[in-house]
Subunit: 139 residues, 3 copies
Protein backbone atom coordinates (compact mmCIF):
# COMPACT_ATOMS: atom_id res chain seq x y z
CA UNK A 1 0.00 0.00 0.00
CA UNK A 2 1.20 3.51 -0.86
CA UNK A 3 0.01 6.84 0.44
CA UNK A 4 1.40 10.20 -0.74
CA UNK A 5 0.61 13.67 0.52
CA UNK A 6 2.03 17.16 -0.07
CA UNK A 7 2.31 19.70 2.73
CA UNK A 8 3.21 23.38 2.68
CA UNK A 9 5.31 25.17 5.27
CA UNK A 10 6.74 28.68 5.59
CA UNK A 11 10.18 29.51 6.93
CA UNK A 12 11.62 32.71 8.39
CA UNK A 13 14.90 32.43 6.43
CA UNK A 14 18.44 31.22 6.90
CA UNK A 15 18.92 28.63 9.63
CA UNK A 16 15.24 28.40 10.48
CA UNK A 17 14.57 24.80 11.56
CA UNK A 18 11.00 23.47 11.44
CA UNK A 19 9.92 20.48 13.55
CA UNK A 20 7.95 18.25 11.16
CA UNK A 21 7.37 15.34 13.55
CA UNK A 22 3.73 15.97 14.49
CA UNK A 23 2.80 16.79 10.90
CA UNK A 24 4.37 13.55 9.62
CA UNK A 25 2.92 11.52 12.51
CA UNK A 26 -0.58 12.74 11.59
CA UNK A 27 -0.14 11.71 7.95
CA UNK A 28 1.08 8.28 9.07
CA UNK A 29 -2.08 7.92 11.21
CA UNK A 30 -4.29 8.97 8.29
CA UNK A 31 -2.60 6.41 6.02
CA UNK A 32 -3.59 3.60 8.44
CA UNK A 33 -0.29 1.89 7.55
CA UNK A 34 0.71 -0.16 10.55
CA UNK A 35 4.14 -1.41 9.51
CA UNK A 36 6.40 0.13 6.86
CA UNK A 37 8.27 3.33 6.27
CA UNK A 38 7.75 7.00 5.45
CA UNK A 39 9.92 9.16 3.20
CA UNK A 40 10.07 12.95 3.65
CA UNK A 41 11.46 14.89 0.66
CA UNK A 42 12.12 18.54 -0.13
CA UNK A 43 11.90 19.35 -3.85
CA UNK A 44 14.48 22.16 -3.84
CA UNK A 45 18.24 22.56 -3.60
CA UNK A 46 18.60 24.98 -0.66
CA UNK A 47 16.77 23.04 2.06
CA UNK A 48 17.45 19.72 3.79
CA UNK A 49 15.72 17.04 5.88
CA UNK A 50 17.30 15.29 8.88
CA UNK A 51 16.61 14.47 12.54
CA UNK A 52 17.78 16.19 15.73
CA UNK A 53 16.88 16.87 19.32
CA UNK A 54 14.80 19.97 18.70
CA UNK A 55 15.95 22.54 21.26
CA UNK A 56 17.16 26.14 20.72
CA UNK A 57 20.76 25.46 21.75
CA UNK A 58 21.30 22.72 19.18
CA UNK A 59 19.68 24.82 16.46
CA UNK A 60 22.50 27.34 16.97
CA UNK A 61 25.19 24.66 17.30
CA UNK A 62 24.12 23.01 14.04
CA UNK A 63 24.06 26.34 12.16
CA UNK A 64 27.58 27.12 13.38
CA UNK A 65 28.92 23.71 12.38
CA UNK A 66 27.44 24.10 8.89
CA UNK A 67 29.04 27.55 8.65
CA UNK A 68 32.42 25.91 9.21
CA UNK A 69 31.82 23.78 6.09
CA UNK A 70 30.41 26.64 4.00
CA UNK A 71 31.22 30.03 5.57
CA UNK A 72 29.22 33.15 4.79
CA UNK A 73 32.15 35.47 4.13
CA UNK A 74 34.06 33.60 1.40
CA UNK A 75 33.47 33.99 -2.37
CA UNK A 76 31.32 31.40 -4.18
CA UNK A 77 31.50 30.64 -7.89
CA UNK A 78 27.71 30.25 -7.85
CA UNK A 79 27.31 33.99 -7.18
CA UNK A 80 29.04 34.89 -10.43
CA UNK A 81 26.50 32.93 -12.44
CA UNK A 82 23.17 34.34 -11.32
CA UNK A 83 24.08 37.22 -9.04
CA UNK A 84 22.83 34.96 -6.24
CA UNK A 85 24.02 35.21 -2.65
CA UNK A 86 23.23 31.66 -1.58
CA UNK A 87 26.20 29.53 -2.63
CA UNK A 88 26.65 28.42 0.97
CA UNK A 89 22.97 27.37 1.12
CA UNK A 90 23.34 25.04 -1.87
CA UNK A 91 26.55 23.47 -0.56
CA UNK A 92 25.08 22.71 2.89
CA UNK A 93 21.88 21.29 1.36
CA UNK A 94 23.81 18.89 -0.90
CA UNK A 95 25.88 17.60 2.02
CA UNK A 96 22.95 16.95 4.41
CA UNK A 97 20.56 15.82 1.68
CA UNK A 98 16.90 16.37 0.69
CA UNK A 99 15.48 12.99 1.73
CA UNK A 100 14.86 11.05 4.95
CA UNK A 101 13.27 7.61 5.43
CA UNK A 102 11.87 6.66 8.87
CA UNK A 103 10.40 3.27 9.87
CA UNK A 104 6.77 2.86 10.95
CA UNK A 105 5.64 0.37 13.61
CA UNK A 106 2.13 0.11 15.09
CA UNK A 107 0.99 2.99 12.83
CA UNK A 108 3.57 5.28 14.51
CA UNK A 109 6.94 6.79 13.62
CA UNK A 110 9.72 4.73 15.18
CA UNK A 111 11.86 7.63 16.48
CA UNK A 112 14.06 8.00 19.56
CA UNK A 113 12.60 9.76 22.61
CA UNK A 114 14.30 13.09 21.87
CA UNK A 115 14.61 12.64 18.12
CA UNK A 116 12.52 14.90 15.87
CA UNK A 117 12.17 15.07 12.09
CA UNK A 118 13.25 18.55 10.92
CA UNK A 119 13.37 20.72 7.84
CA UNK A 120 16.46 22.94 7.65
CA UNK A 121 15.95 26.21 5.79
CA UNK A 122 19.39 26.94 4.41
CA UNK A 123 18.42 29.60 1.86
CA UNK A 124 19.22 33.25 2.62
CA UNK A 125 15.60 34.44 2.62
CA UNK A 126 12.18 33.32 3.93
CA UNK A 127 10.65 30.65 1.70
CA UNK A 128 7.38 28.85 1.19
CA UNK A 129 8.25 25.16 0.93
CA UNK A 130 6.31 22.15 -0.29
CA UNK A 131 7.30 18.78 1.18
CA UNK A 132 6.37 15.36 -0.21
CA UNK A 133 5.46 12.64 2.27
CA UNK A 134 5.39 9.11 0.79
CA UNK A 135 4.35 6.14 2.95
CA UNK A 136 4.85 2.45 2.12
CA UNK A 137 3.60 -0.53 4.05
CA UNK A 138 0.80 -2.81 5.25
CA UNK A 139 -2.37 -1.90 7.10
Amino acid sequence: MIYQEEVNISTTGENDIINLTELVENIVKKSRIRIGMVNIFIPGSTGAITTMEYEPGLKKDLAEALARIAPREIPYEHHKRWGDDNGRSHVKASIIGPSLTVPIKNNKLYLGTWQQIVFLELDTRPRNRRLIITIFGEE
Copy 2:
Protein backbone atom coordinates in the same frame (compact mmCIF):
# COMPACT_ATOMS: atom_id res chain seq x y z
CA MET B 1 6.05 -7.85 1.17
CA ILE B 2 7.42 -6.17 4.30
CA TYR B 3 9.63 -7.56 7.01
CA GLN B 4 10.72 -5.58 10.09
CA GLU B 5 13.13 -6.58 12.82
CA GLU B 6 14.78 -4.81 15.77
CA VAL B 7 18.35 -5.56 16.79
CA ASN B 8 20.36 -4.48 19.83
CA ILE B 9 24.03 -3.55 19.81
CA SER B 10 26.43 -2.13 22.41
CA THR B 11 29.07 0.49 21.73
CA THR B 12 32.27 1.40 23.59
CA GLY B 13 31.65 5.17 23.32
CA GLU B 14 32.67 8.11 21.18
CA ASN B 15 33.82 7.23 17.66
CA ASP B 16 33.15 3.51 18.04
CA ILE B 17 32.10 2.22 14.62
CA ILE B 18 30.17 -1.06 14.39
CA ASN B 19 30.12 -3.10 11.19
CA LEU B 20 26.44 -4.05 10.68
CA THR B 21 26.82 -5.77 7.31
CA GLU B 22 26.65 -9.42 8.40
CA LEU B 23 23.79 -8.72 10.80
CA VAL B 24 21.74 -6.97 8.08
CA GLU B 25 22.66 -9.63 5.48
CA ASN B 26 21.30 -12.33 7.81
CA ILE B 27 18.00 -10.49 8.28
CA VAL B 28 17.71 -10.08 4.50
CA LYS B 29 18.21 -13.85 4.12
CA LYS B 30 15.57 -14.60 6.77
CA SER B 31 13.09 -12.27 5.02
CA ARG B 32 13.41 -14.36 1.83
CA ILE B 33 12.98 -11.12 -0.13
CA ARG B 34 14.79 -11.60 -3.43
CA ILE B 35 14.52 -8.13 -4.95
CA GLY B 36 13.85 -4.88 -3.12
CA MET B 37 15.53 -2.72 -0.52
CA VAL B 38 16.41 -2.61 3.17
CA ASN B 39 16.34 0.44 5.43
CA ILE B 40 18.54 0.65 8.53
CA PHE B 41 17.51 3.27 11.09
CA ILE B 42 18.82 4.46 14.48
CA PRO B 43 16.10 5.86 16.75
CA GLY B 44 18.30 8.38 18.57
CA SER B 45 19.95 11.72 17.87
CA THR B 46 23.62 10.99 18.70
CA GLY B 47 24.29 8.06 16.36
CA ALA B 48 24.36 7.74 12.57
CA ILE B 49 24.22 5.12 9.80
CA THR B 50 26.34 5.19 6.66
CA THR B 51 28.71 2.99 4.63
CA MET B 52 32.52 2.83 4.55
CA GLU B 53 35.46 0.54 3.92
CA TYR B 54 35.71 -0.87 7.42
CA GLU B 55 39.40 -0.72 8.34
CA PRO B 56 41.07 0.86 11.43
CA GLY B 57 42.81 3.64 9.51
CA LEU B 58 39.61 5.02 7.99
CA LYS B 59 37.83 4.82 11.36
CA LYS B 60 40.39 7.34 12.66
CA ASP B 61 40.32 9.45 9.49
CA LEU B 62 36.52 9.73 9.62
CA ALA B 63 36.55 10.68 13.33
CA GLU B 64 39.09 13.42 12.64
CA ALA B 65 37.13 14.81 9.71
CA LEU B 66 33.97 14.96 11.83
CA ALA B 67 35.94 16.74 14.57
CA ARG B 68 36.78 19.46 12.03
CA ILE B 69 33.03 20.08 11.59
CA ALA B 70 32.20 19.87 15.32
CA PRO B 71 35.37 20.17 17.44
CA ARG B 72 35.52 18.89 21.00
CA GLU B 73 37.07 21.98 22.57
CA ILE B 74 34.62 24.73 21.55
CA PRO B 75 31.54 25.79 23.57
CA TYR B 76 28.11 24.42 22.57
CA GLU B 77 24.78 26.09 23.37
CA HIS B 78 23.35 22.61 23.95
CA HIS B 79 25.52 22.21 27.07
CA LYS B 80 23.90 25.20 28.75
CA ARG B 81 20.48 23.60 28.48
CA TRP B 82 20.91 20.20 30.11
CA GLY B 83 24.45 20.26 31.49
CA ASP B 84 25.24 17.80 28.68
CA ASP B 85 28.67 17.41 27.14
CA ASN B 86 27.59 16.00 23.77
CA GLY B 87 26.73 19.01 21.60
CA ARG B 88 29.29 17.84 19.05
CA SER B 89 27.67 14.36 18.99
CA HIS B 90 24.27 15.79 18.06
CA VAL B 91 25.67 18.04 15.35
CA LYS B 92 27.63 15.22 13.64
CA ALA B 93 24.64 12.87 13.83
CA SER B 94 22.31 15.39 12.15
CA ILE B 95 24.78 15.97 9.30
CA ILE B 96 25.41 12.27 8.51
CA GLY B 97 21.85 11.17 9.23
CA PRO B 98 20.08 8.30 11.02
CA SER B 99 18.84 6.35 8.00
CA LEU B 100 20.33 4.32 5.14
CA THR B 101 18.57 2.45 2.32
CA VAL B 102 20.43 -0.31 0.44
CA PRO B 103 19.15 -2.28 -2.58
CA ILE B 104 18.60 -6.06 -2.45
CA LYS B 105 19.20 -8.35 -5.44
CA ASN B 106 19.09 -12.18 -5.40
CA ASN B 107 18.24 -12.08 -1.66
CA LYS B 108 21.55 -10.29 -0.96
CA LEU B 109 22.68 -6.76 -0.13
CA TYR B 110 23.92 -5.01 -3.26
CA LEU B 111 27.08 -3.42 -1.79
CA GLY B 112 30.51 -2.69 -3.26
CA THR B 113 33.32 -5.17 -2.59
CA TRP B 114 34.87 -3.11 0.23
CA GLN B 115 31.70 -1.28 1.27
CA GLN B 116 30.25 -2.09 4.68
CA ILE B 117 27.13 -0.81 6.46
CA VAL B 118 28.18 0.87 9.71
CA PHE B 119 26.75 2.41 12.84
CA LEU B 120 28.68 5.45 14.08
CA GLU B 121 28.55 5.97 17.85
CA LEU B 122 28.93 9.72 18.18
CA ASP B 123 27.80 10.08 21.80
CA THR B 124 30.41 10.73 24.48
CA ARG B 125 29.76 7.51 26.45
CA PRO B 126 29.12 3.81 25.78
CA ARG B 127 25.53 3.17 24.74
CA ASN B 128 23.16 0.28 24.18
CA ARG B 129 21.50 0.94 20.83
CA ARG B 130 18.44 -0.52 19.17
CA LEU B 131 18.36 -0.44 15.36
CA ILE B 132 15.30 -0.93 13.15
CA ILE B 133 15.71 -2.98 9.99
CA THR B 134 12.82 -2.67 7.51
CA ILE B 135 12.83 -4.71 4.28
CA PHE B 136 10.57 -4.17 1.26
CA GLY B 137 10.30 -6.32 -1.83
CA GLU B 138 9.26 -9.48 -3.62
CA GLU B 139 10.12 -13.07 -2.79
Copy 3:
Protein backbone atom coordinates in the same frame (compact mmCIF):
# COMPACT_ATOMS: atom_id res chain seq x y z
CA MET C 1 5.34 -3.35 -7.70
CA ILE C 2 9.14 -3.31 -7.86
CA TYR C 3 11.45 -2.51 -10.73
CA GLN C 4 15.25 -2.67 -10.52
CA GLU C 5 17.81 -1.70 -13.12
CA GLU C 6 21.60 -1.32 -13.17
CA VAL C 7 23.30 1.44 -15.14
CA ASN C 8 26.96 2.07 -15.92
CA ILE C 9 28.63 5.47 -16.01
CA SER C 10 32.23 6.66 -16.45
CA THR C 11 33.79 9.51 -14.54
CA THR C 12 36.82 11.70 -15.29
CA GLY C 13 38.18 11.48 -11.71
CA GLU C 14 38.17 13.51 -8.51
CA ASN C 15 35.28 15.97 -8.15
CA ASP C 16 33.61 14.96 -11.39
CA ILE C 17 29.86 15.35 -10.89
CA ILE C 18 27.48 13.47 -13.19
CA ASN C 19 23.88 14.60 -13.66
CA LEU C 20 21.78 11.42 -13.38
CA THR C 21 18.36 13.06 -13.61
CA GLU C 22 17.45 12.20 -17.21
CA LEU C 23 18.78 8.66 -16.85
CA VAL C 24 16.69 8.06 -13.70
CA GLU C 25 13.63 9.78 -15.22
CA ASN C 26 13.79 7.40 -18.20
CA ILE C 27 13.92 4.33 -15.93
CA VAL C 28 10.94 5.67 -13.96
CA LYS C 29 9.01 6.04 -17.24
CA LYS C 30 9.93 2.50 -18.31
CA SER C 31 8.78 1.12 -14.93
CA ARG C 32 5.29 2.58 -15.55
CA ILE C 33 5.09 3.25 -11.79
CA ARG C 34 2.78 6.22 -11.34
CA ILE C 35 3.09 6.84 -7.61
CA GLY C 36 5.90 5.69 -5.34
CA MET C 37 9.60 6.27 -4.91
CA VAL C 38 12.95 5.55 -6.54
CA ASN C 39 16.21 4.76 -4.76
CA ILE C 40 19.58 5.48 -6.39
CA PHE C 41 22.56 3.64 -4.85
CA ILE C 42 26.30 3.50 -5.52
CA PRO C 43 27.91 0.18 -4.53
CA GLY C 44 31.31 1.58 -3.60
CA SER C 45 32.88 3.62 -0.80
CA THR C 46 34.46 6.53 -2.70
CA GLY C 47 31.39 7.91 -4.49
CA ALA C 48 28.18 9.54 -3.26
CA ILE C 49 24.65 10.39 -4.40
CA THR C 50 22.84 13.64 -3.60
CA THR C 51 20.94 16.48 -5.30
CA MET C 52 22.09 19.95 -6.38
CA GLU C 53 21.49 22.74 -8.85
CA TYR C 54 23.76 21.41 -11.60
CA GLU C 55 25.83 24.37 -12.75
CA PRO C 56 29.65 24.71 -13.04
CA GLY C 57 30.01 27.27 -10.25
CA LEU C 58 28.34 25.09 -7.63
CA LYS C 59 30.38 22.06 -8.72
CA LYS C 60 33.51 24.01 -7.68
CA ASP C 61 31.89 25.41 -4.52
CA LEU C 62 30.85 21.92 -3.37
CA ALA C 63 34.32 20.47 -4.05
CA GLU C 64 35.91 23.26 -2.00
CA ALA C 65 33.52 22.79 0.91
CA LEU C 66 34.26 19.04 0.96
CA ALA C 67 37.98 19.81 0.93
CA ARG C 68 37.49 21.81 4.13
CA ILE C 69 36.15 18.63 5.80
CA ALA C 70 38.79 16.32 4.30
CA PRO C 71 41.73 18.31 2.91
CA ARG C 72 44.08 16.88 0.30
CA GLU C 73 47.34 17.85 1.98
CA ILE C 74 46.98 16.24 5.44
CA PRO C 75 48.09 12.67 6.32
CA TYR C 76 45.46 9.89 6.40
CA GLU C 77 45.78 6.65 8.37
CA HIS C 78 44.13 4.88 5.43
CA HIS C 79 47.20 5.53 3.26
CA LYS C 80 49.44 3.56 5.63
CA ARG C 81 47.31 0.46 5.18
CA TRP C 82 47.17 -0.06 1.44
CA GLY C 83 49.52 2.58 0.05
CA ASP C 84 46.34 4.29 -1.16
CA ASP C 85 46.07 8.02 -1.75
CA ASN C 86 42.30 8.35 -1.36
CA GLY C 87 41.65 8.68 2.38
CA ARG C 88 39.90 11.99 1.75
CA SER C 89 37.67 10.31 -0.88
CA HIS C 90 36.43 7.72 1.61
CA VAL C 91 35.76 10.28 4.33
CA LYS C 92 33.70 12.57 2.07
CA ALA C 93 31.73 9.61 0.67
CA SER C 94 30.76 8.38 4.16
CA ILE C 95 29.56 11.85 5.18
CA ILE C 96 27.38 12.50 2.11
CA GLY C 97 26.24 8.90 1.74
CA PRO C 98 25.75 6.34 -1.06
CA SER C 99 21.94 6.35 -1.23
CA LEU C 100 19.16 8.75 -2.24
CA THR C 101 15.39 8.20 -2.29
CA VAL C 102 13.19 10.50 -4.42
CA PRO C 103 9.35 10.45 -4.61
CA ILE C 104 7.48 9.65 -7.83
CA LYS C 105 4.17 11.27 -8.79
CA ASN C 106 2.36 10.89 -12.15
CA ASN C 107 5.16 8.57 -13.36
CA LYS C 108 7.68 11.43 -12.90
CA LEU C 109 10.42 12.34 -10.43
CA TYR C 110 9.12 14.89 -7.93
CA LEU C 111 12.13 17.24 -7.92
CA GLY C 112 12.45 21.01 -7.54
CA THR C 113 12.78 23.11 -10.71
CA TRP C 114 16.57 23.49 -10.42
CA GLN C 115 17.21 20.31 -8.44
CA GLN C 116 19.11 17.51 -10.18
CA ILE C 117 20.10 14.02 -8.98
CA VAL C 118 23.90 13.74 -9.09
CA PHE C 119 26.68 11.24 -8.64
CA LEU C 120 29.80 12.68 -6.98
CA GLU C 121 33.06 11.02 -8.01
CA LEU C 122 35.23 11.48 -4.94
CA ASP C 123 37.96 8.97 -5.81
CA THR C 124 41.33 10.26 -7.00
CA ARG C 125 41.20 8.64 -10.44
CA PRO C 126 38.69 8.09 -13.27
CA ARG C 127 36.31 5.22 -12.52
CA ASN C 128 33.69 3.10 -14.22
CA ARG C 129 30.72 3.03 -11.87
CA ARG C 130 27.64 0.85 -11.69
CA LEU C 131 24.55 2.39 -10.07
CA ILE C 132 21.50 0.49 -8.83
CA ILE C 133 18.09 2.06 -9.45
CA THR C 134 15.24 0.48 -7.45
CA ILE C 135 11.66 1.70 -7.92
CA PHE C 136 8.68 0.94 -5.66
CA GLY C 137 5.07 1.84 -6.21
CA GLU C 138 1.76 1.42 -8.01
CA GLU C 139 1.05 1.60 -11.73
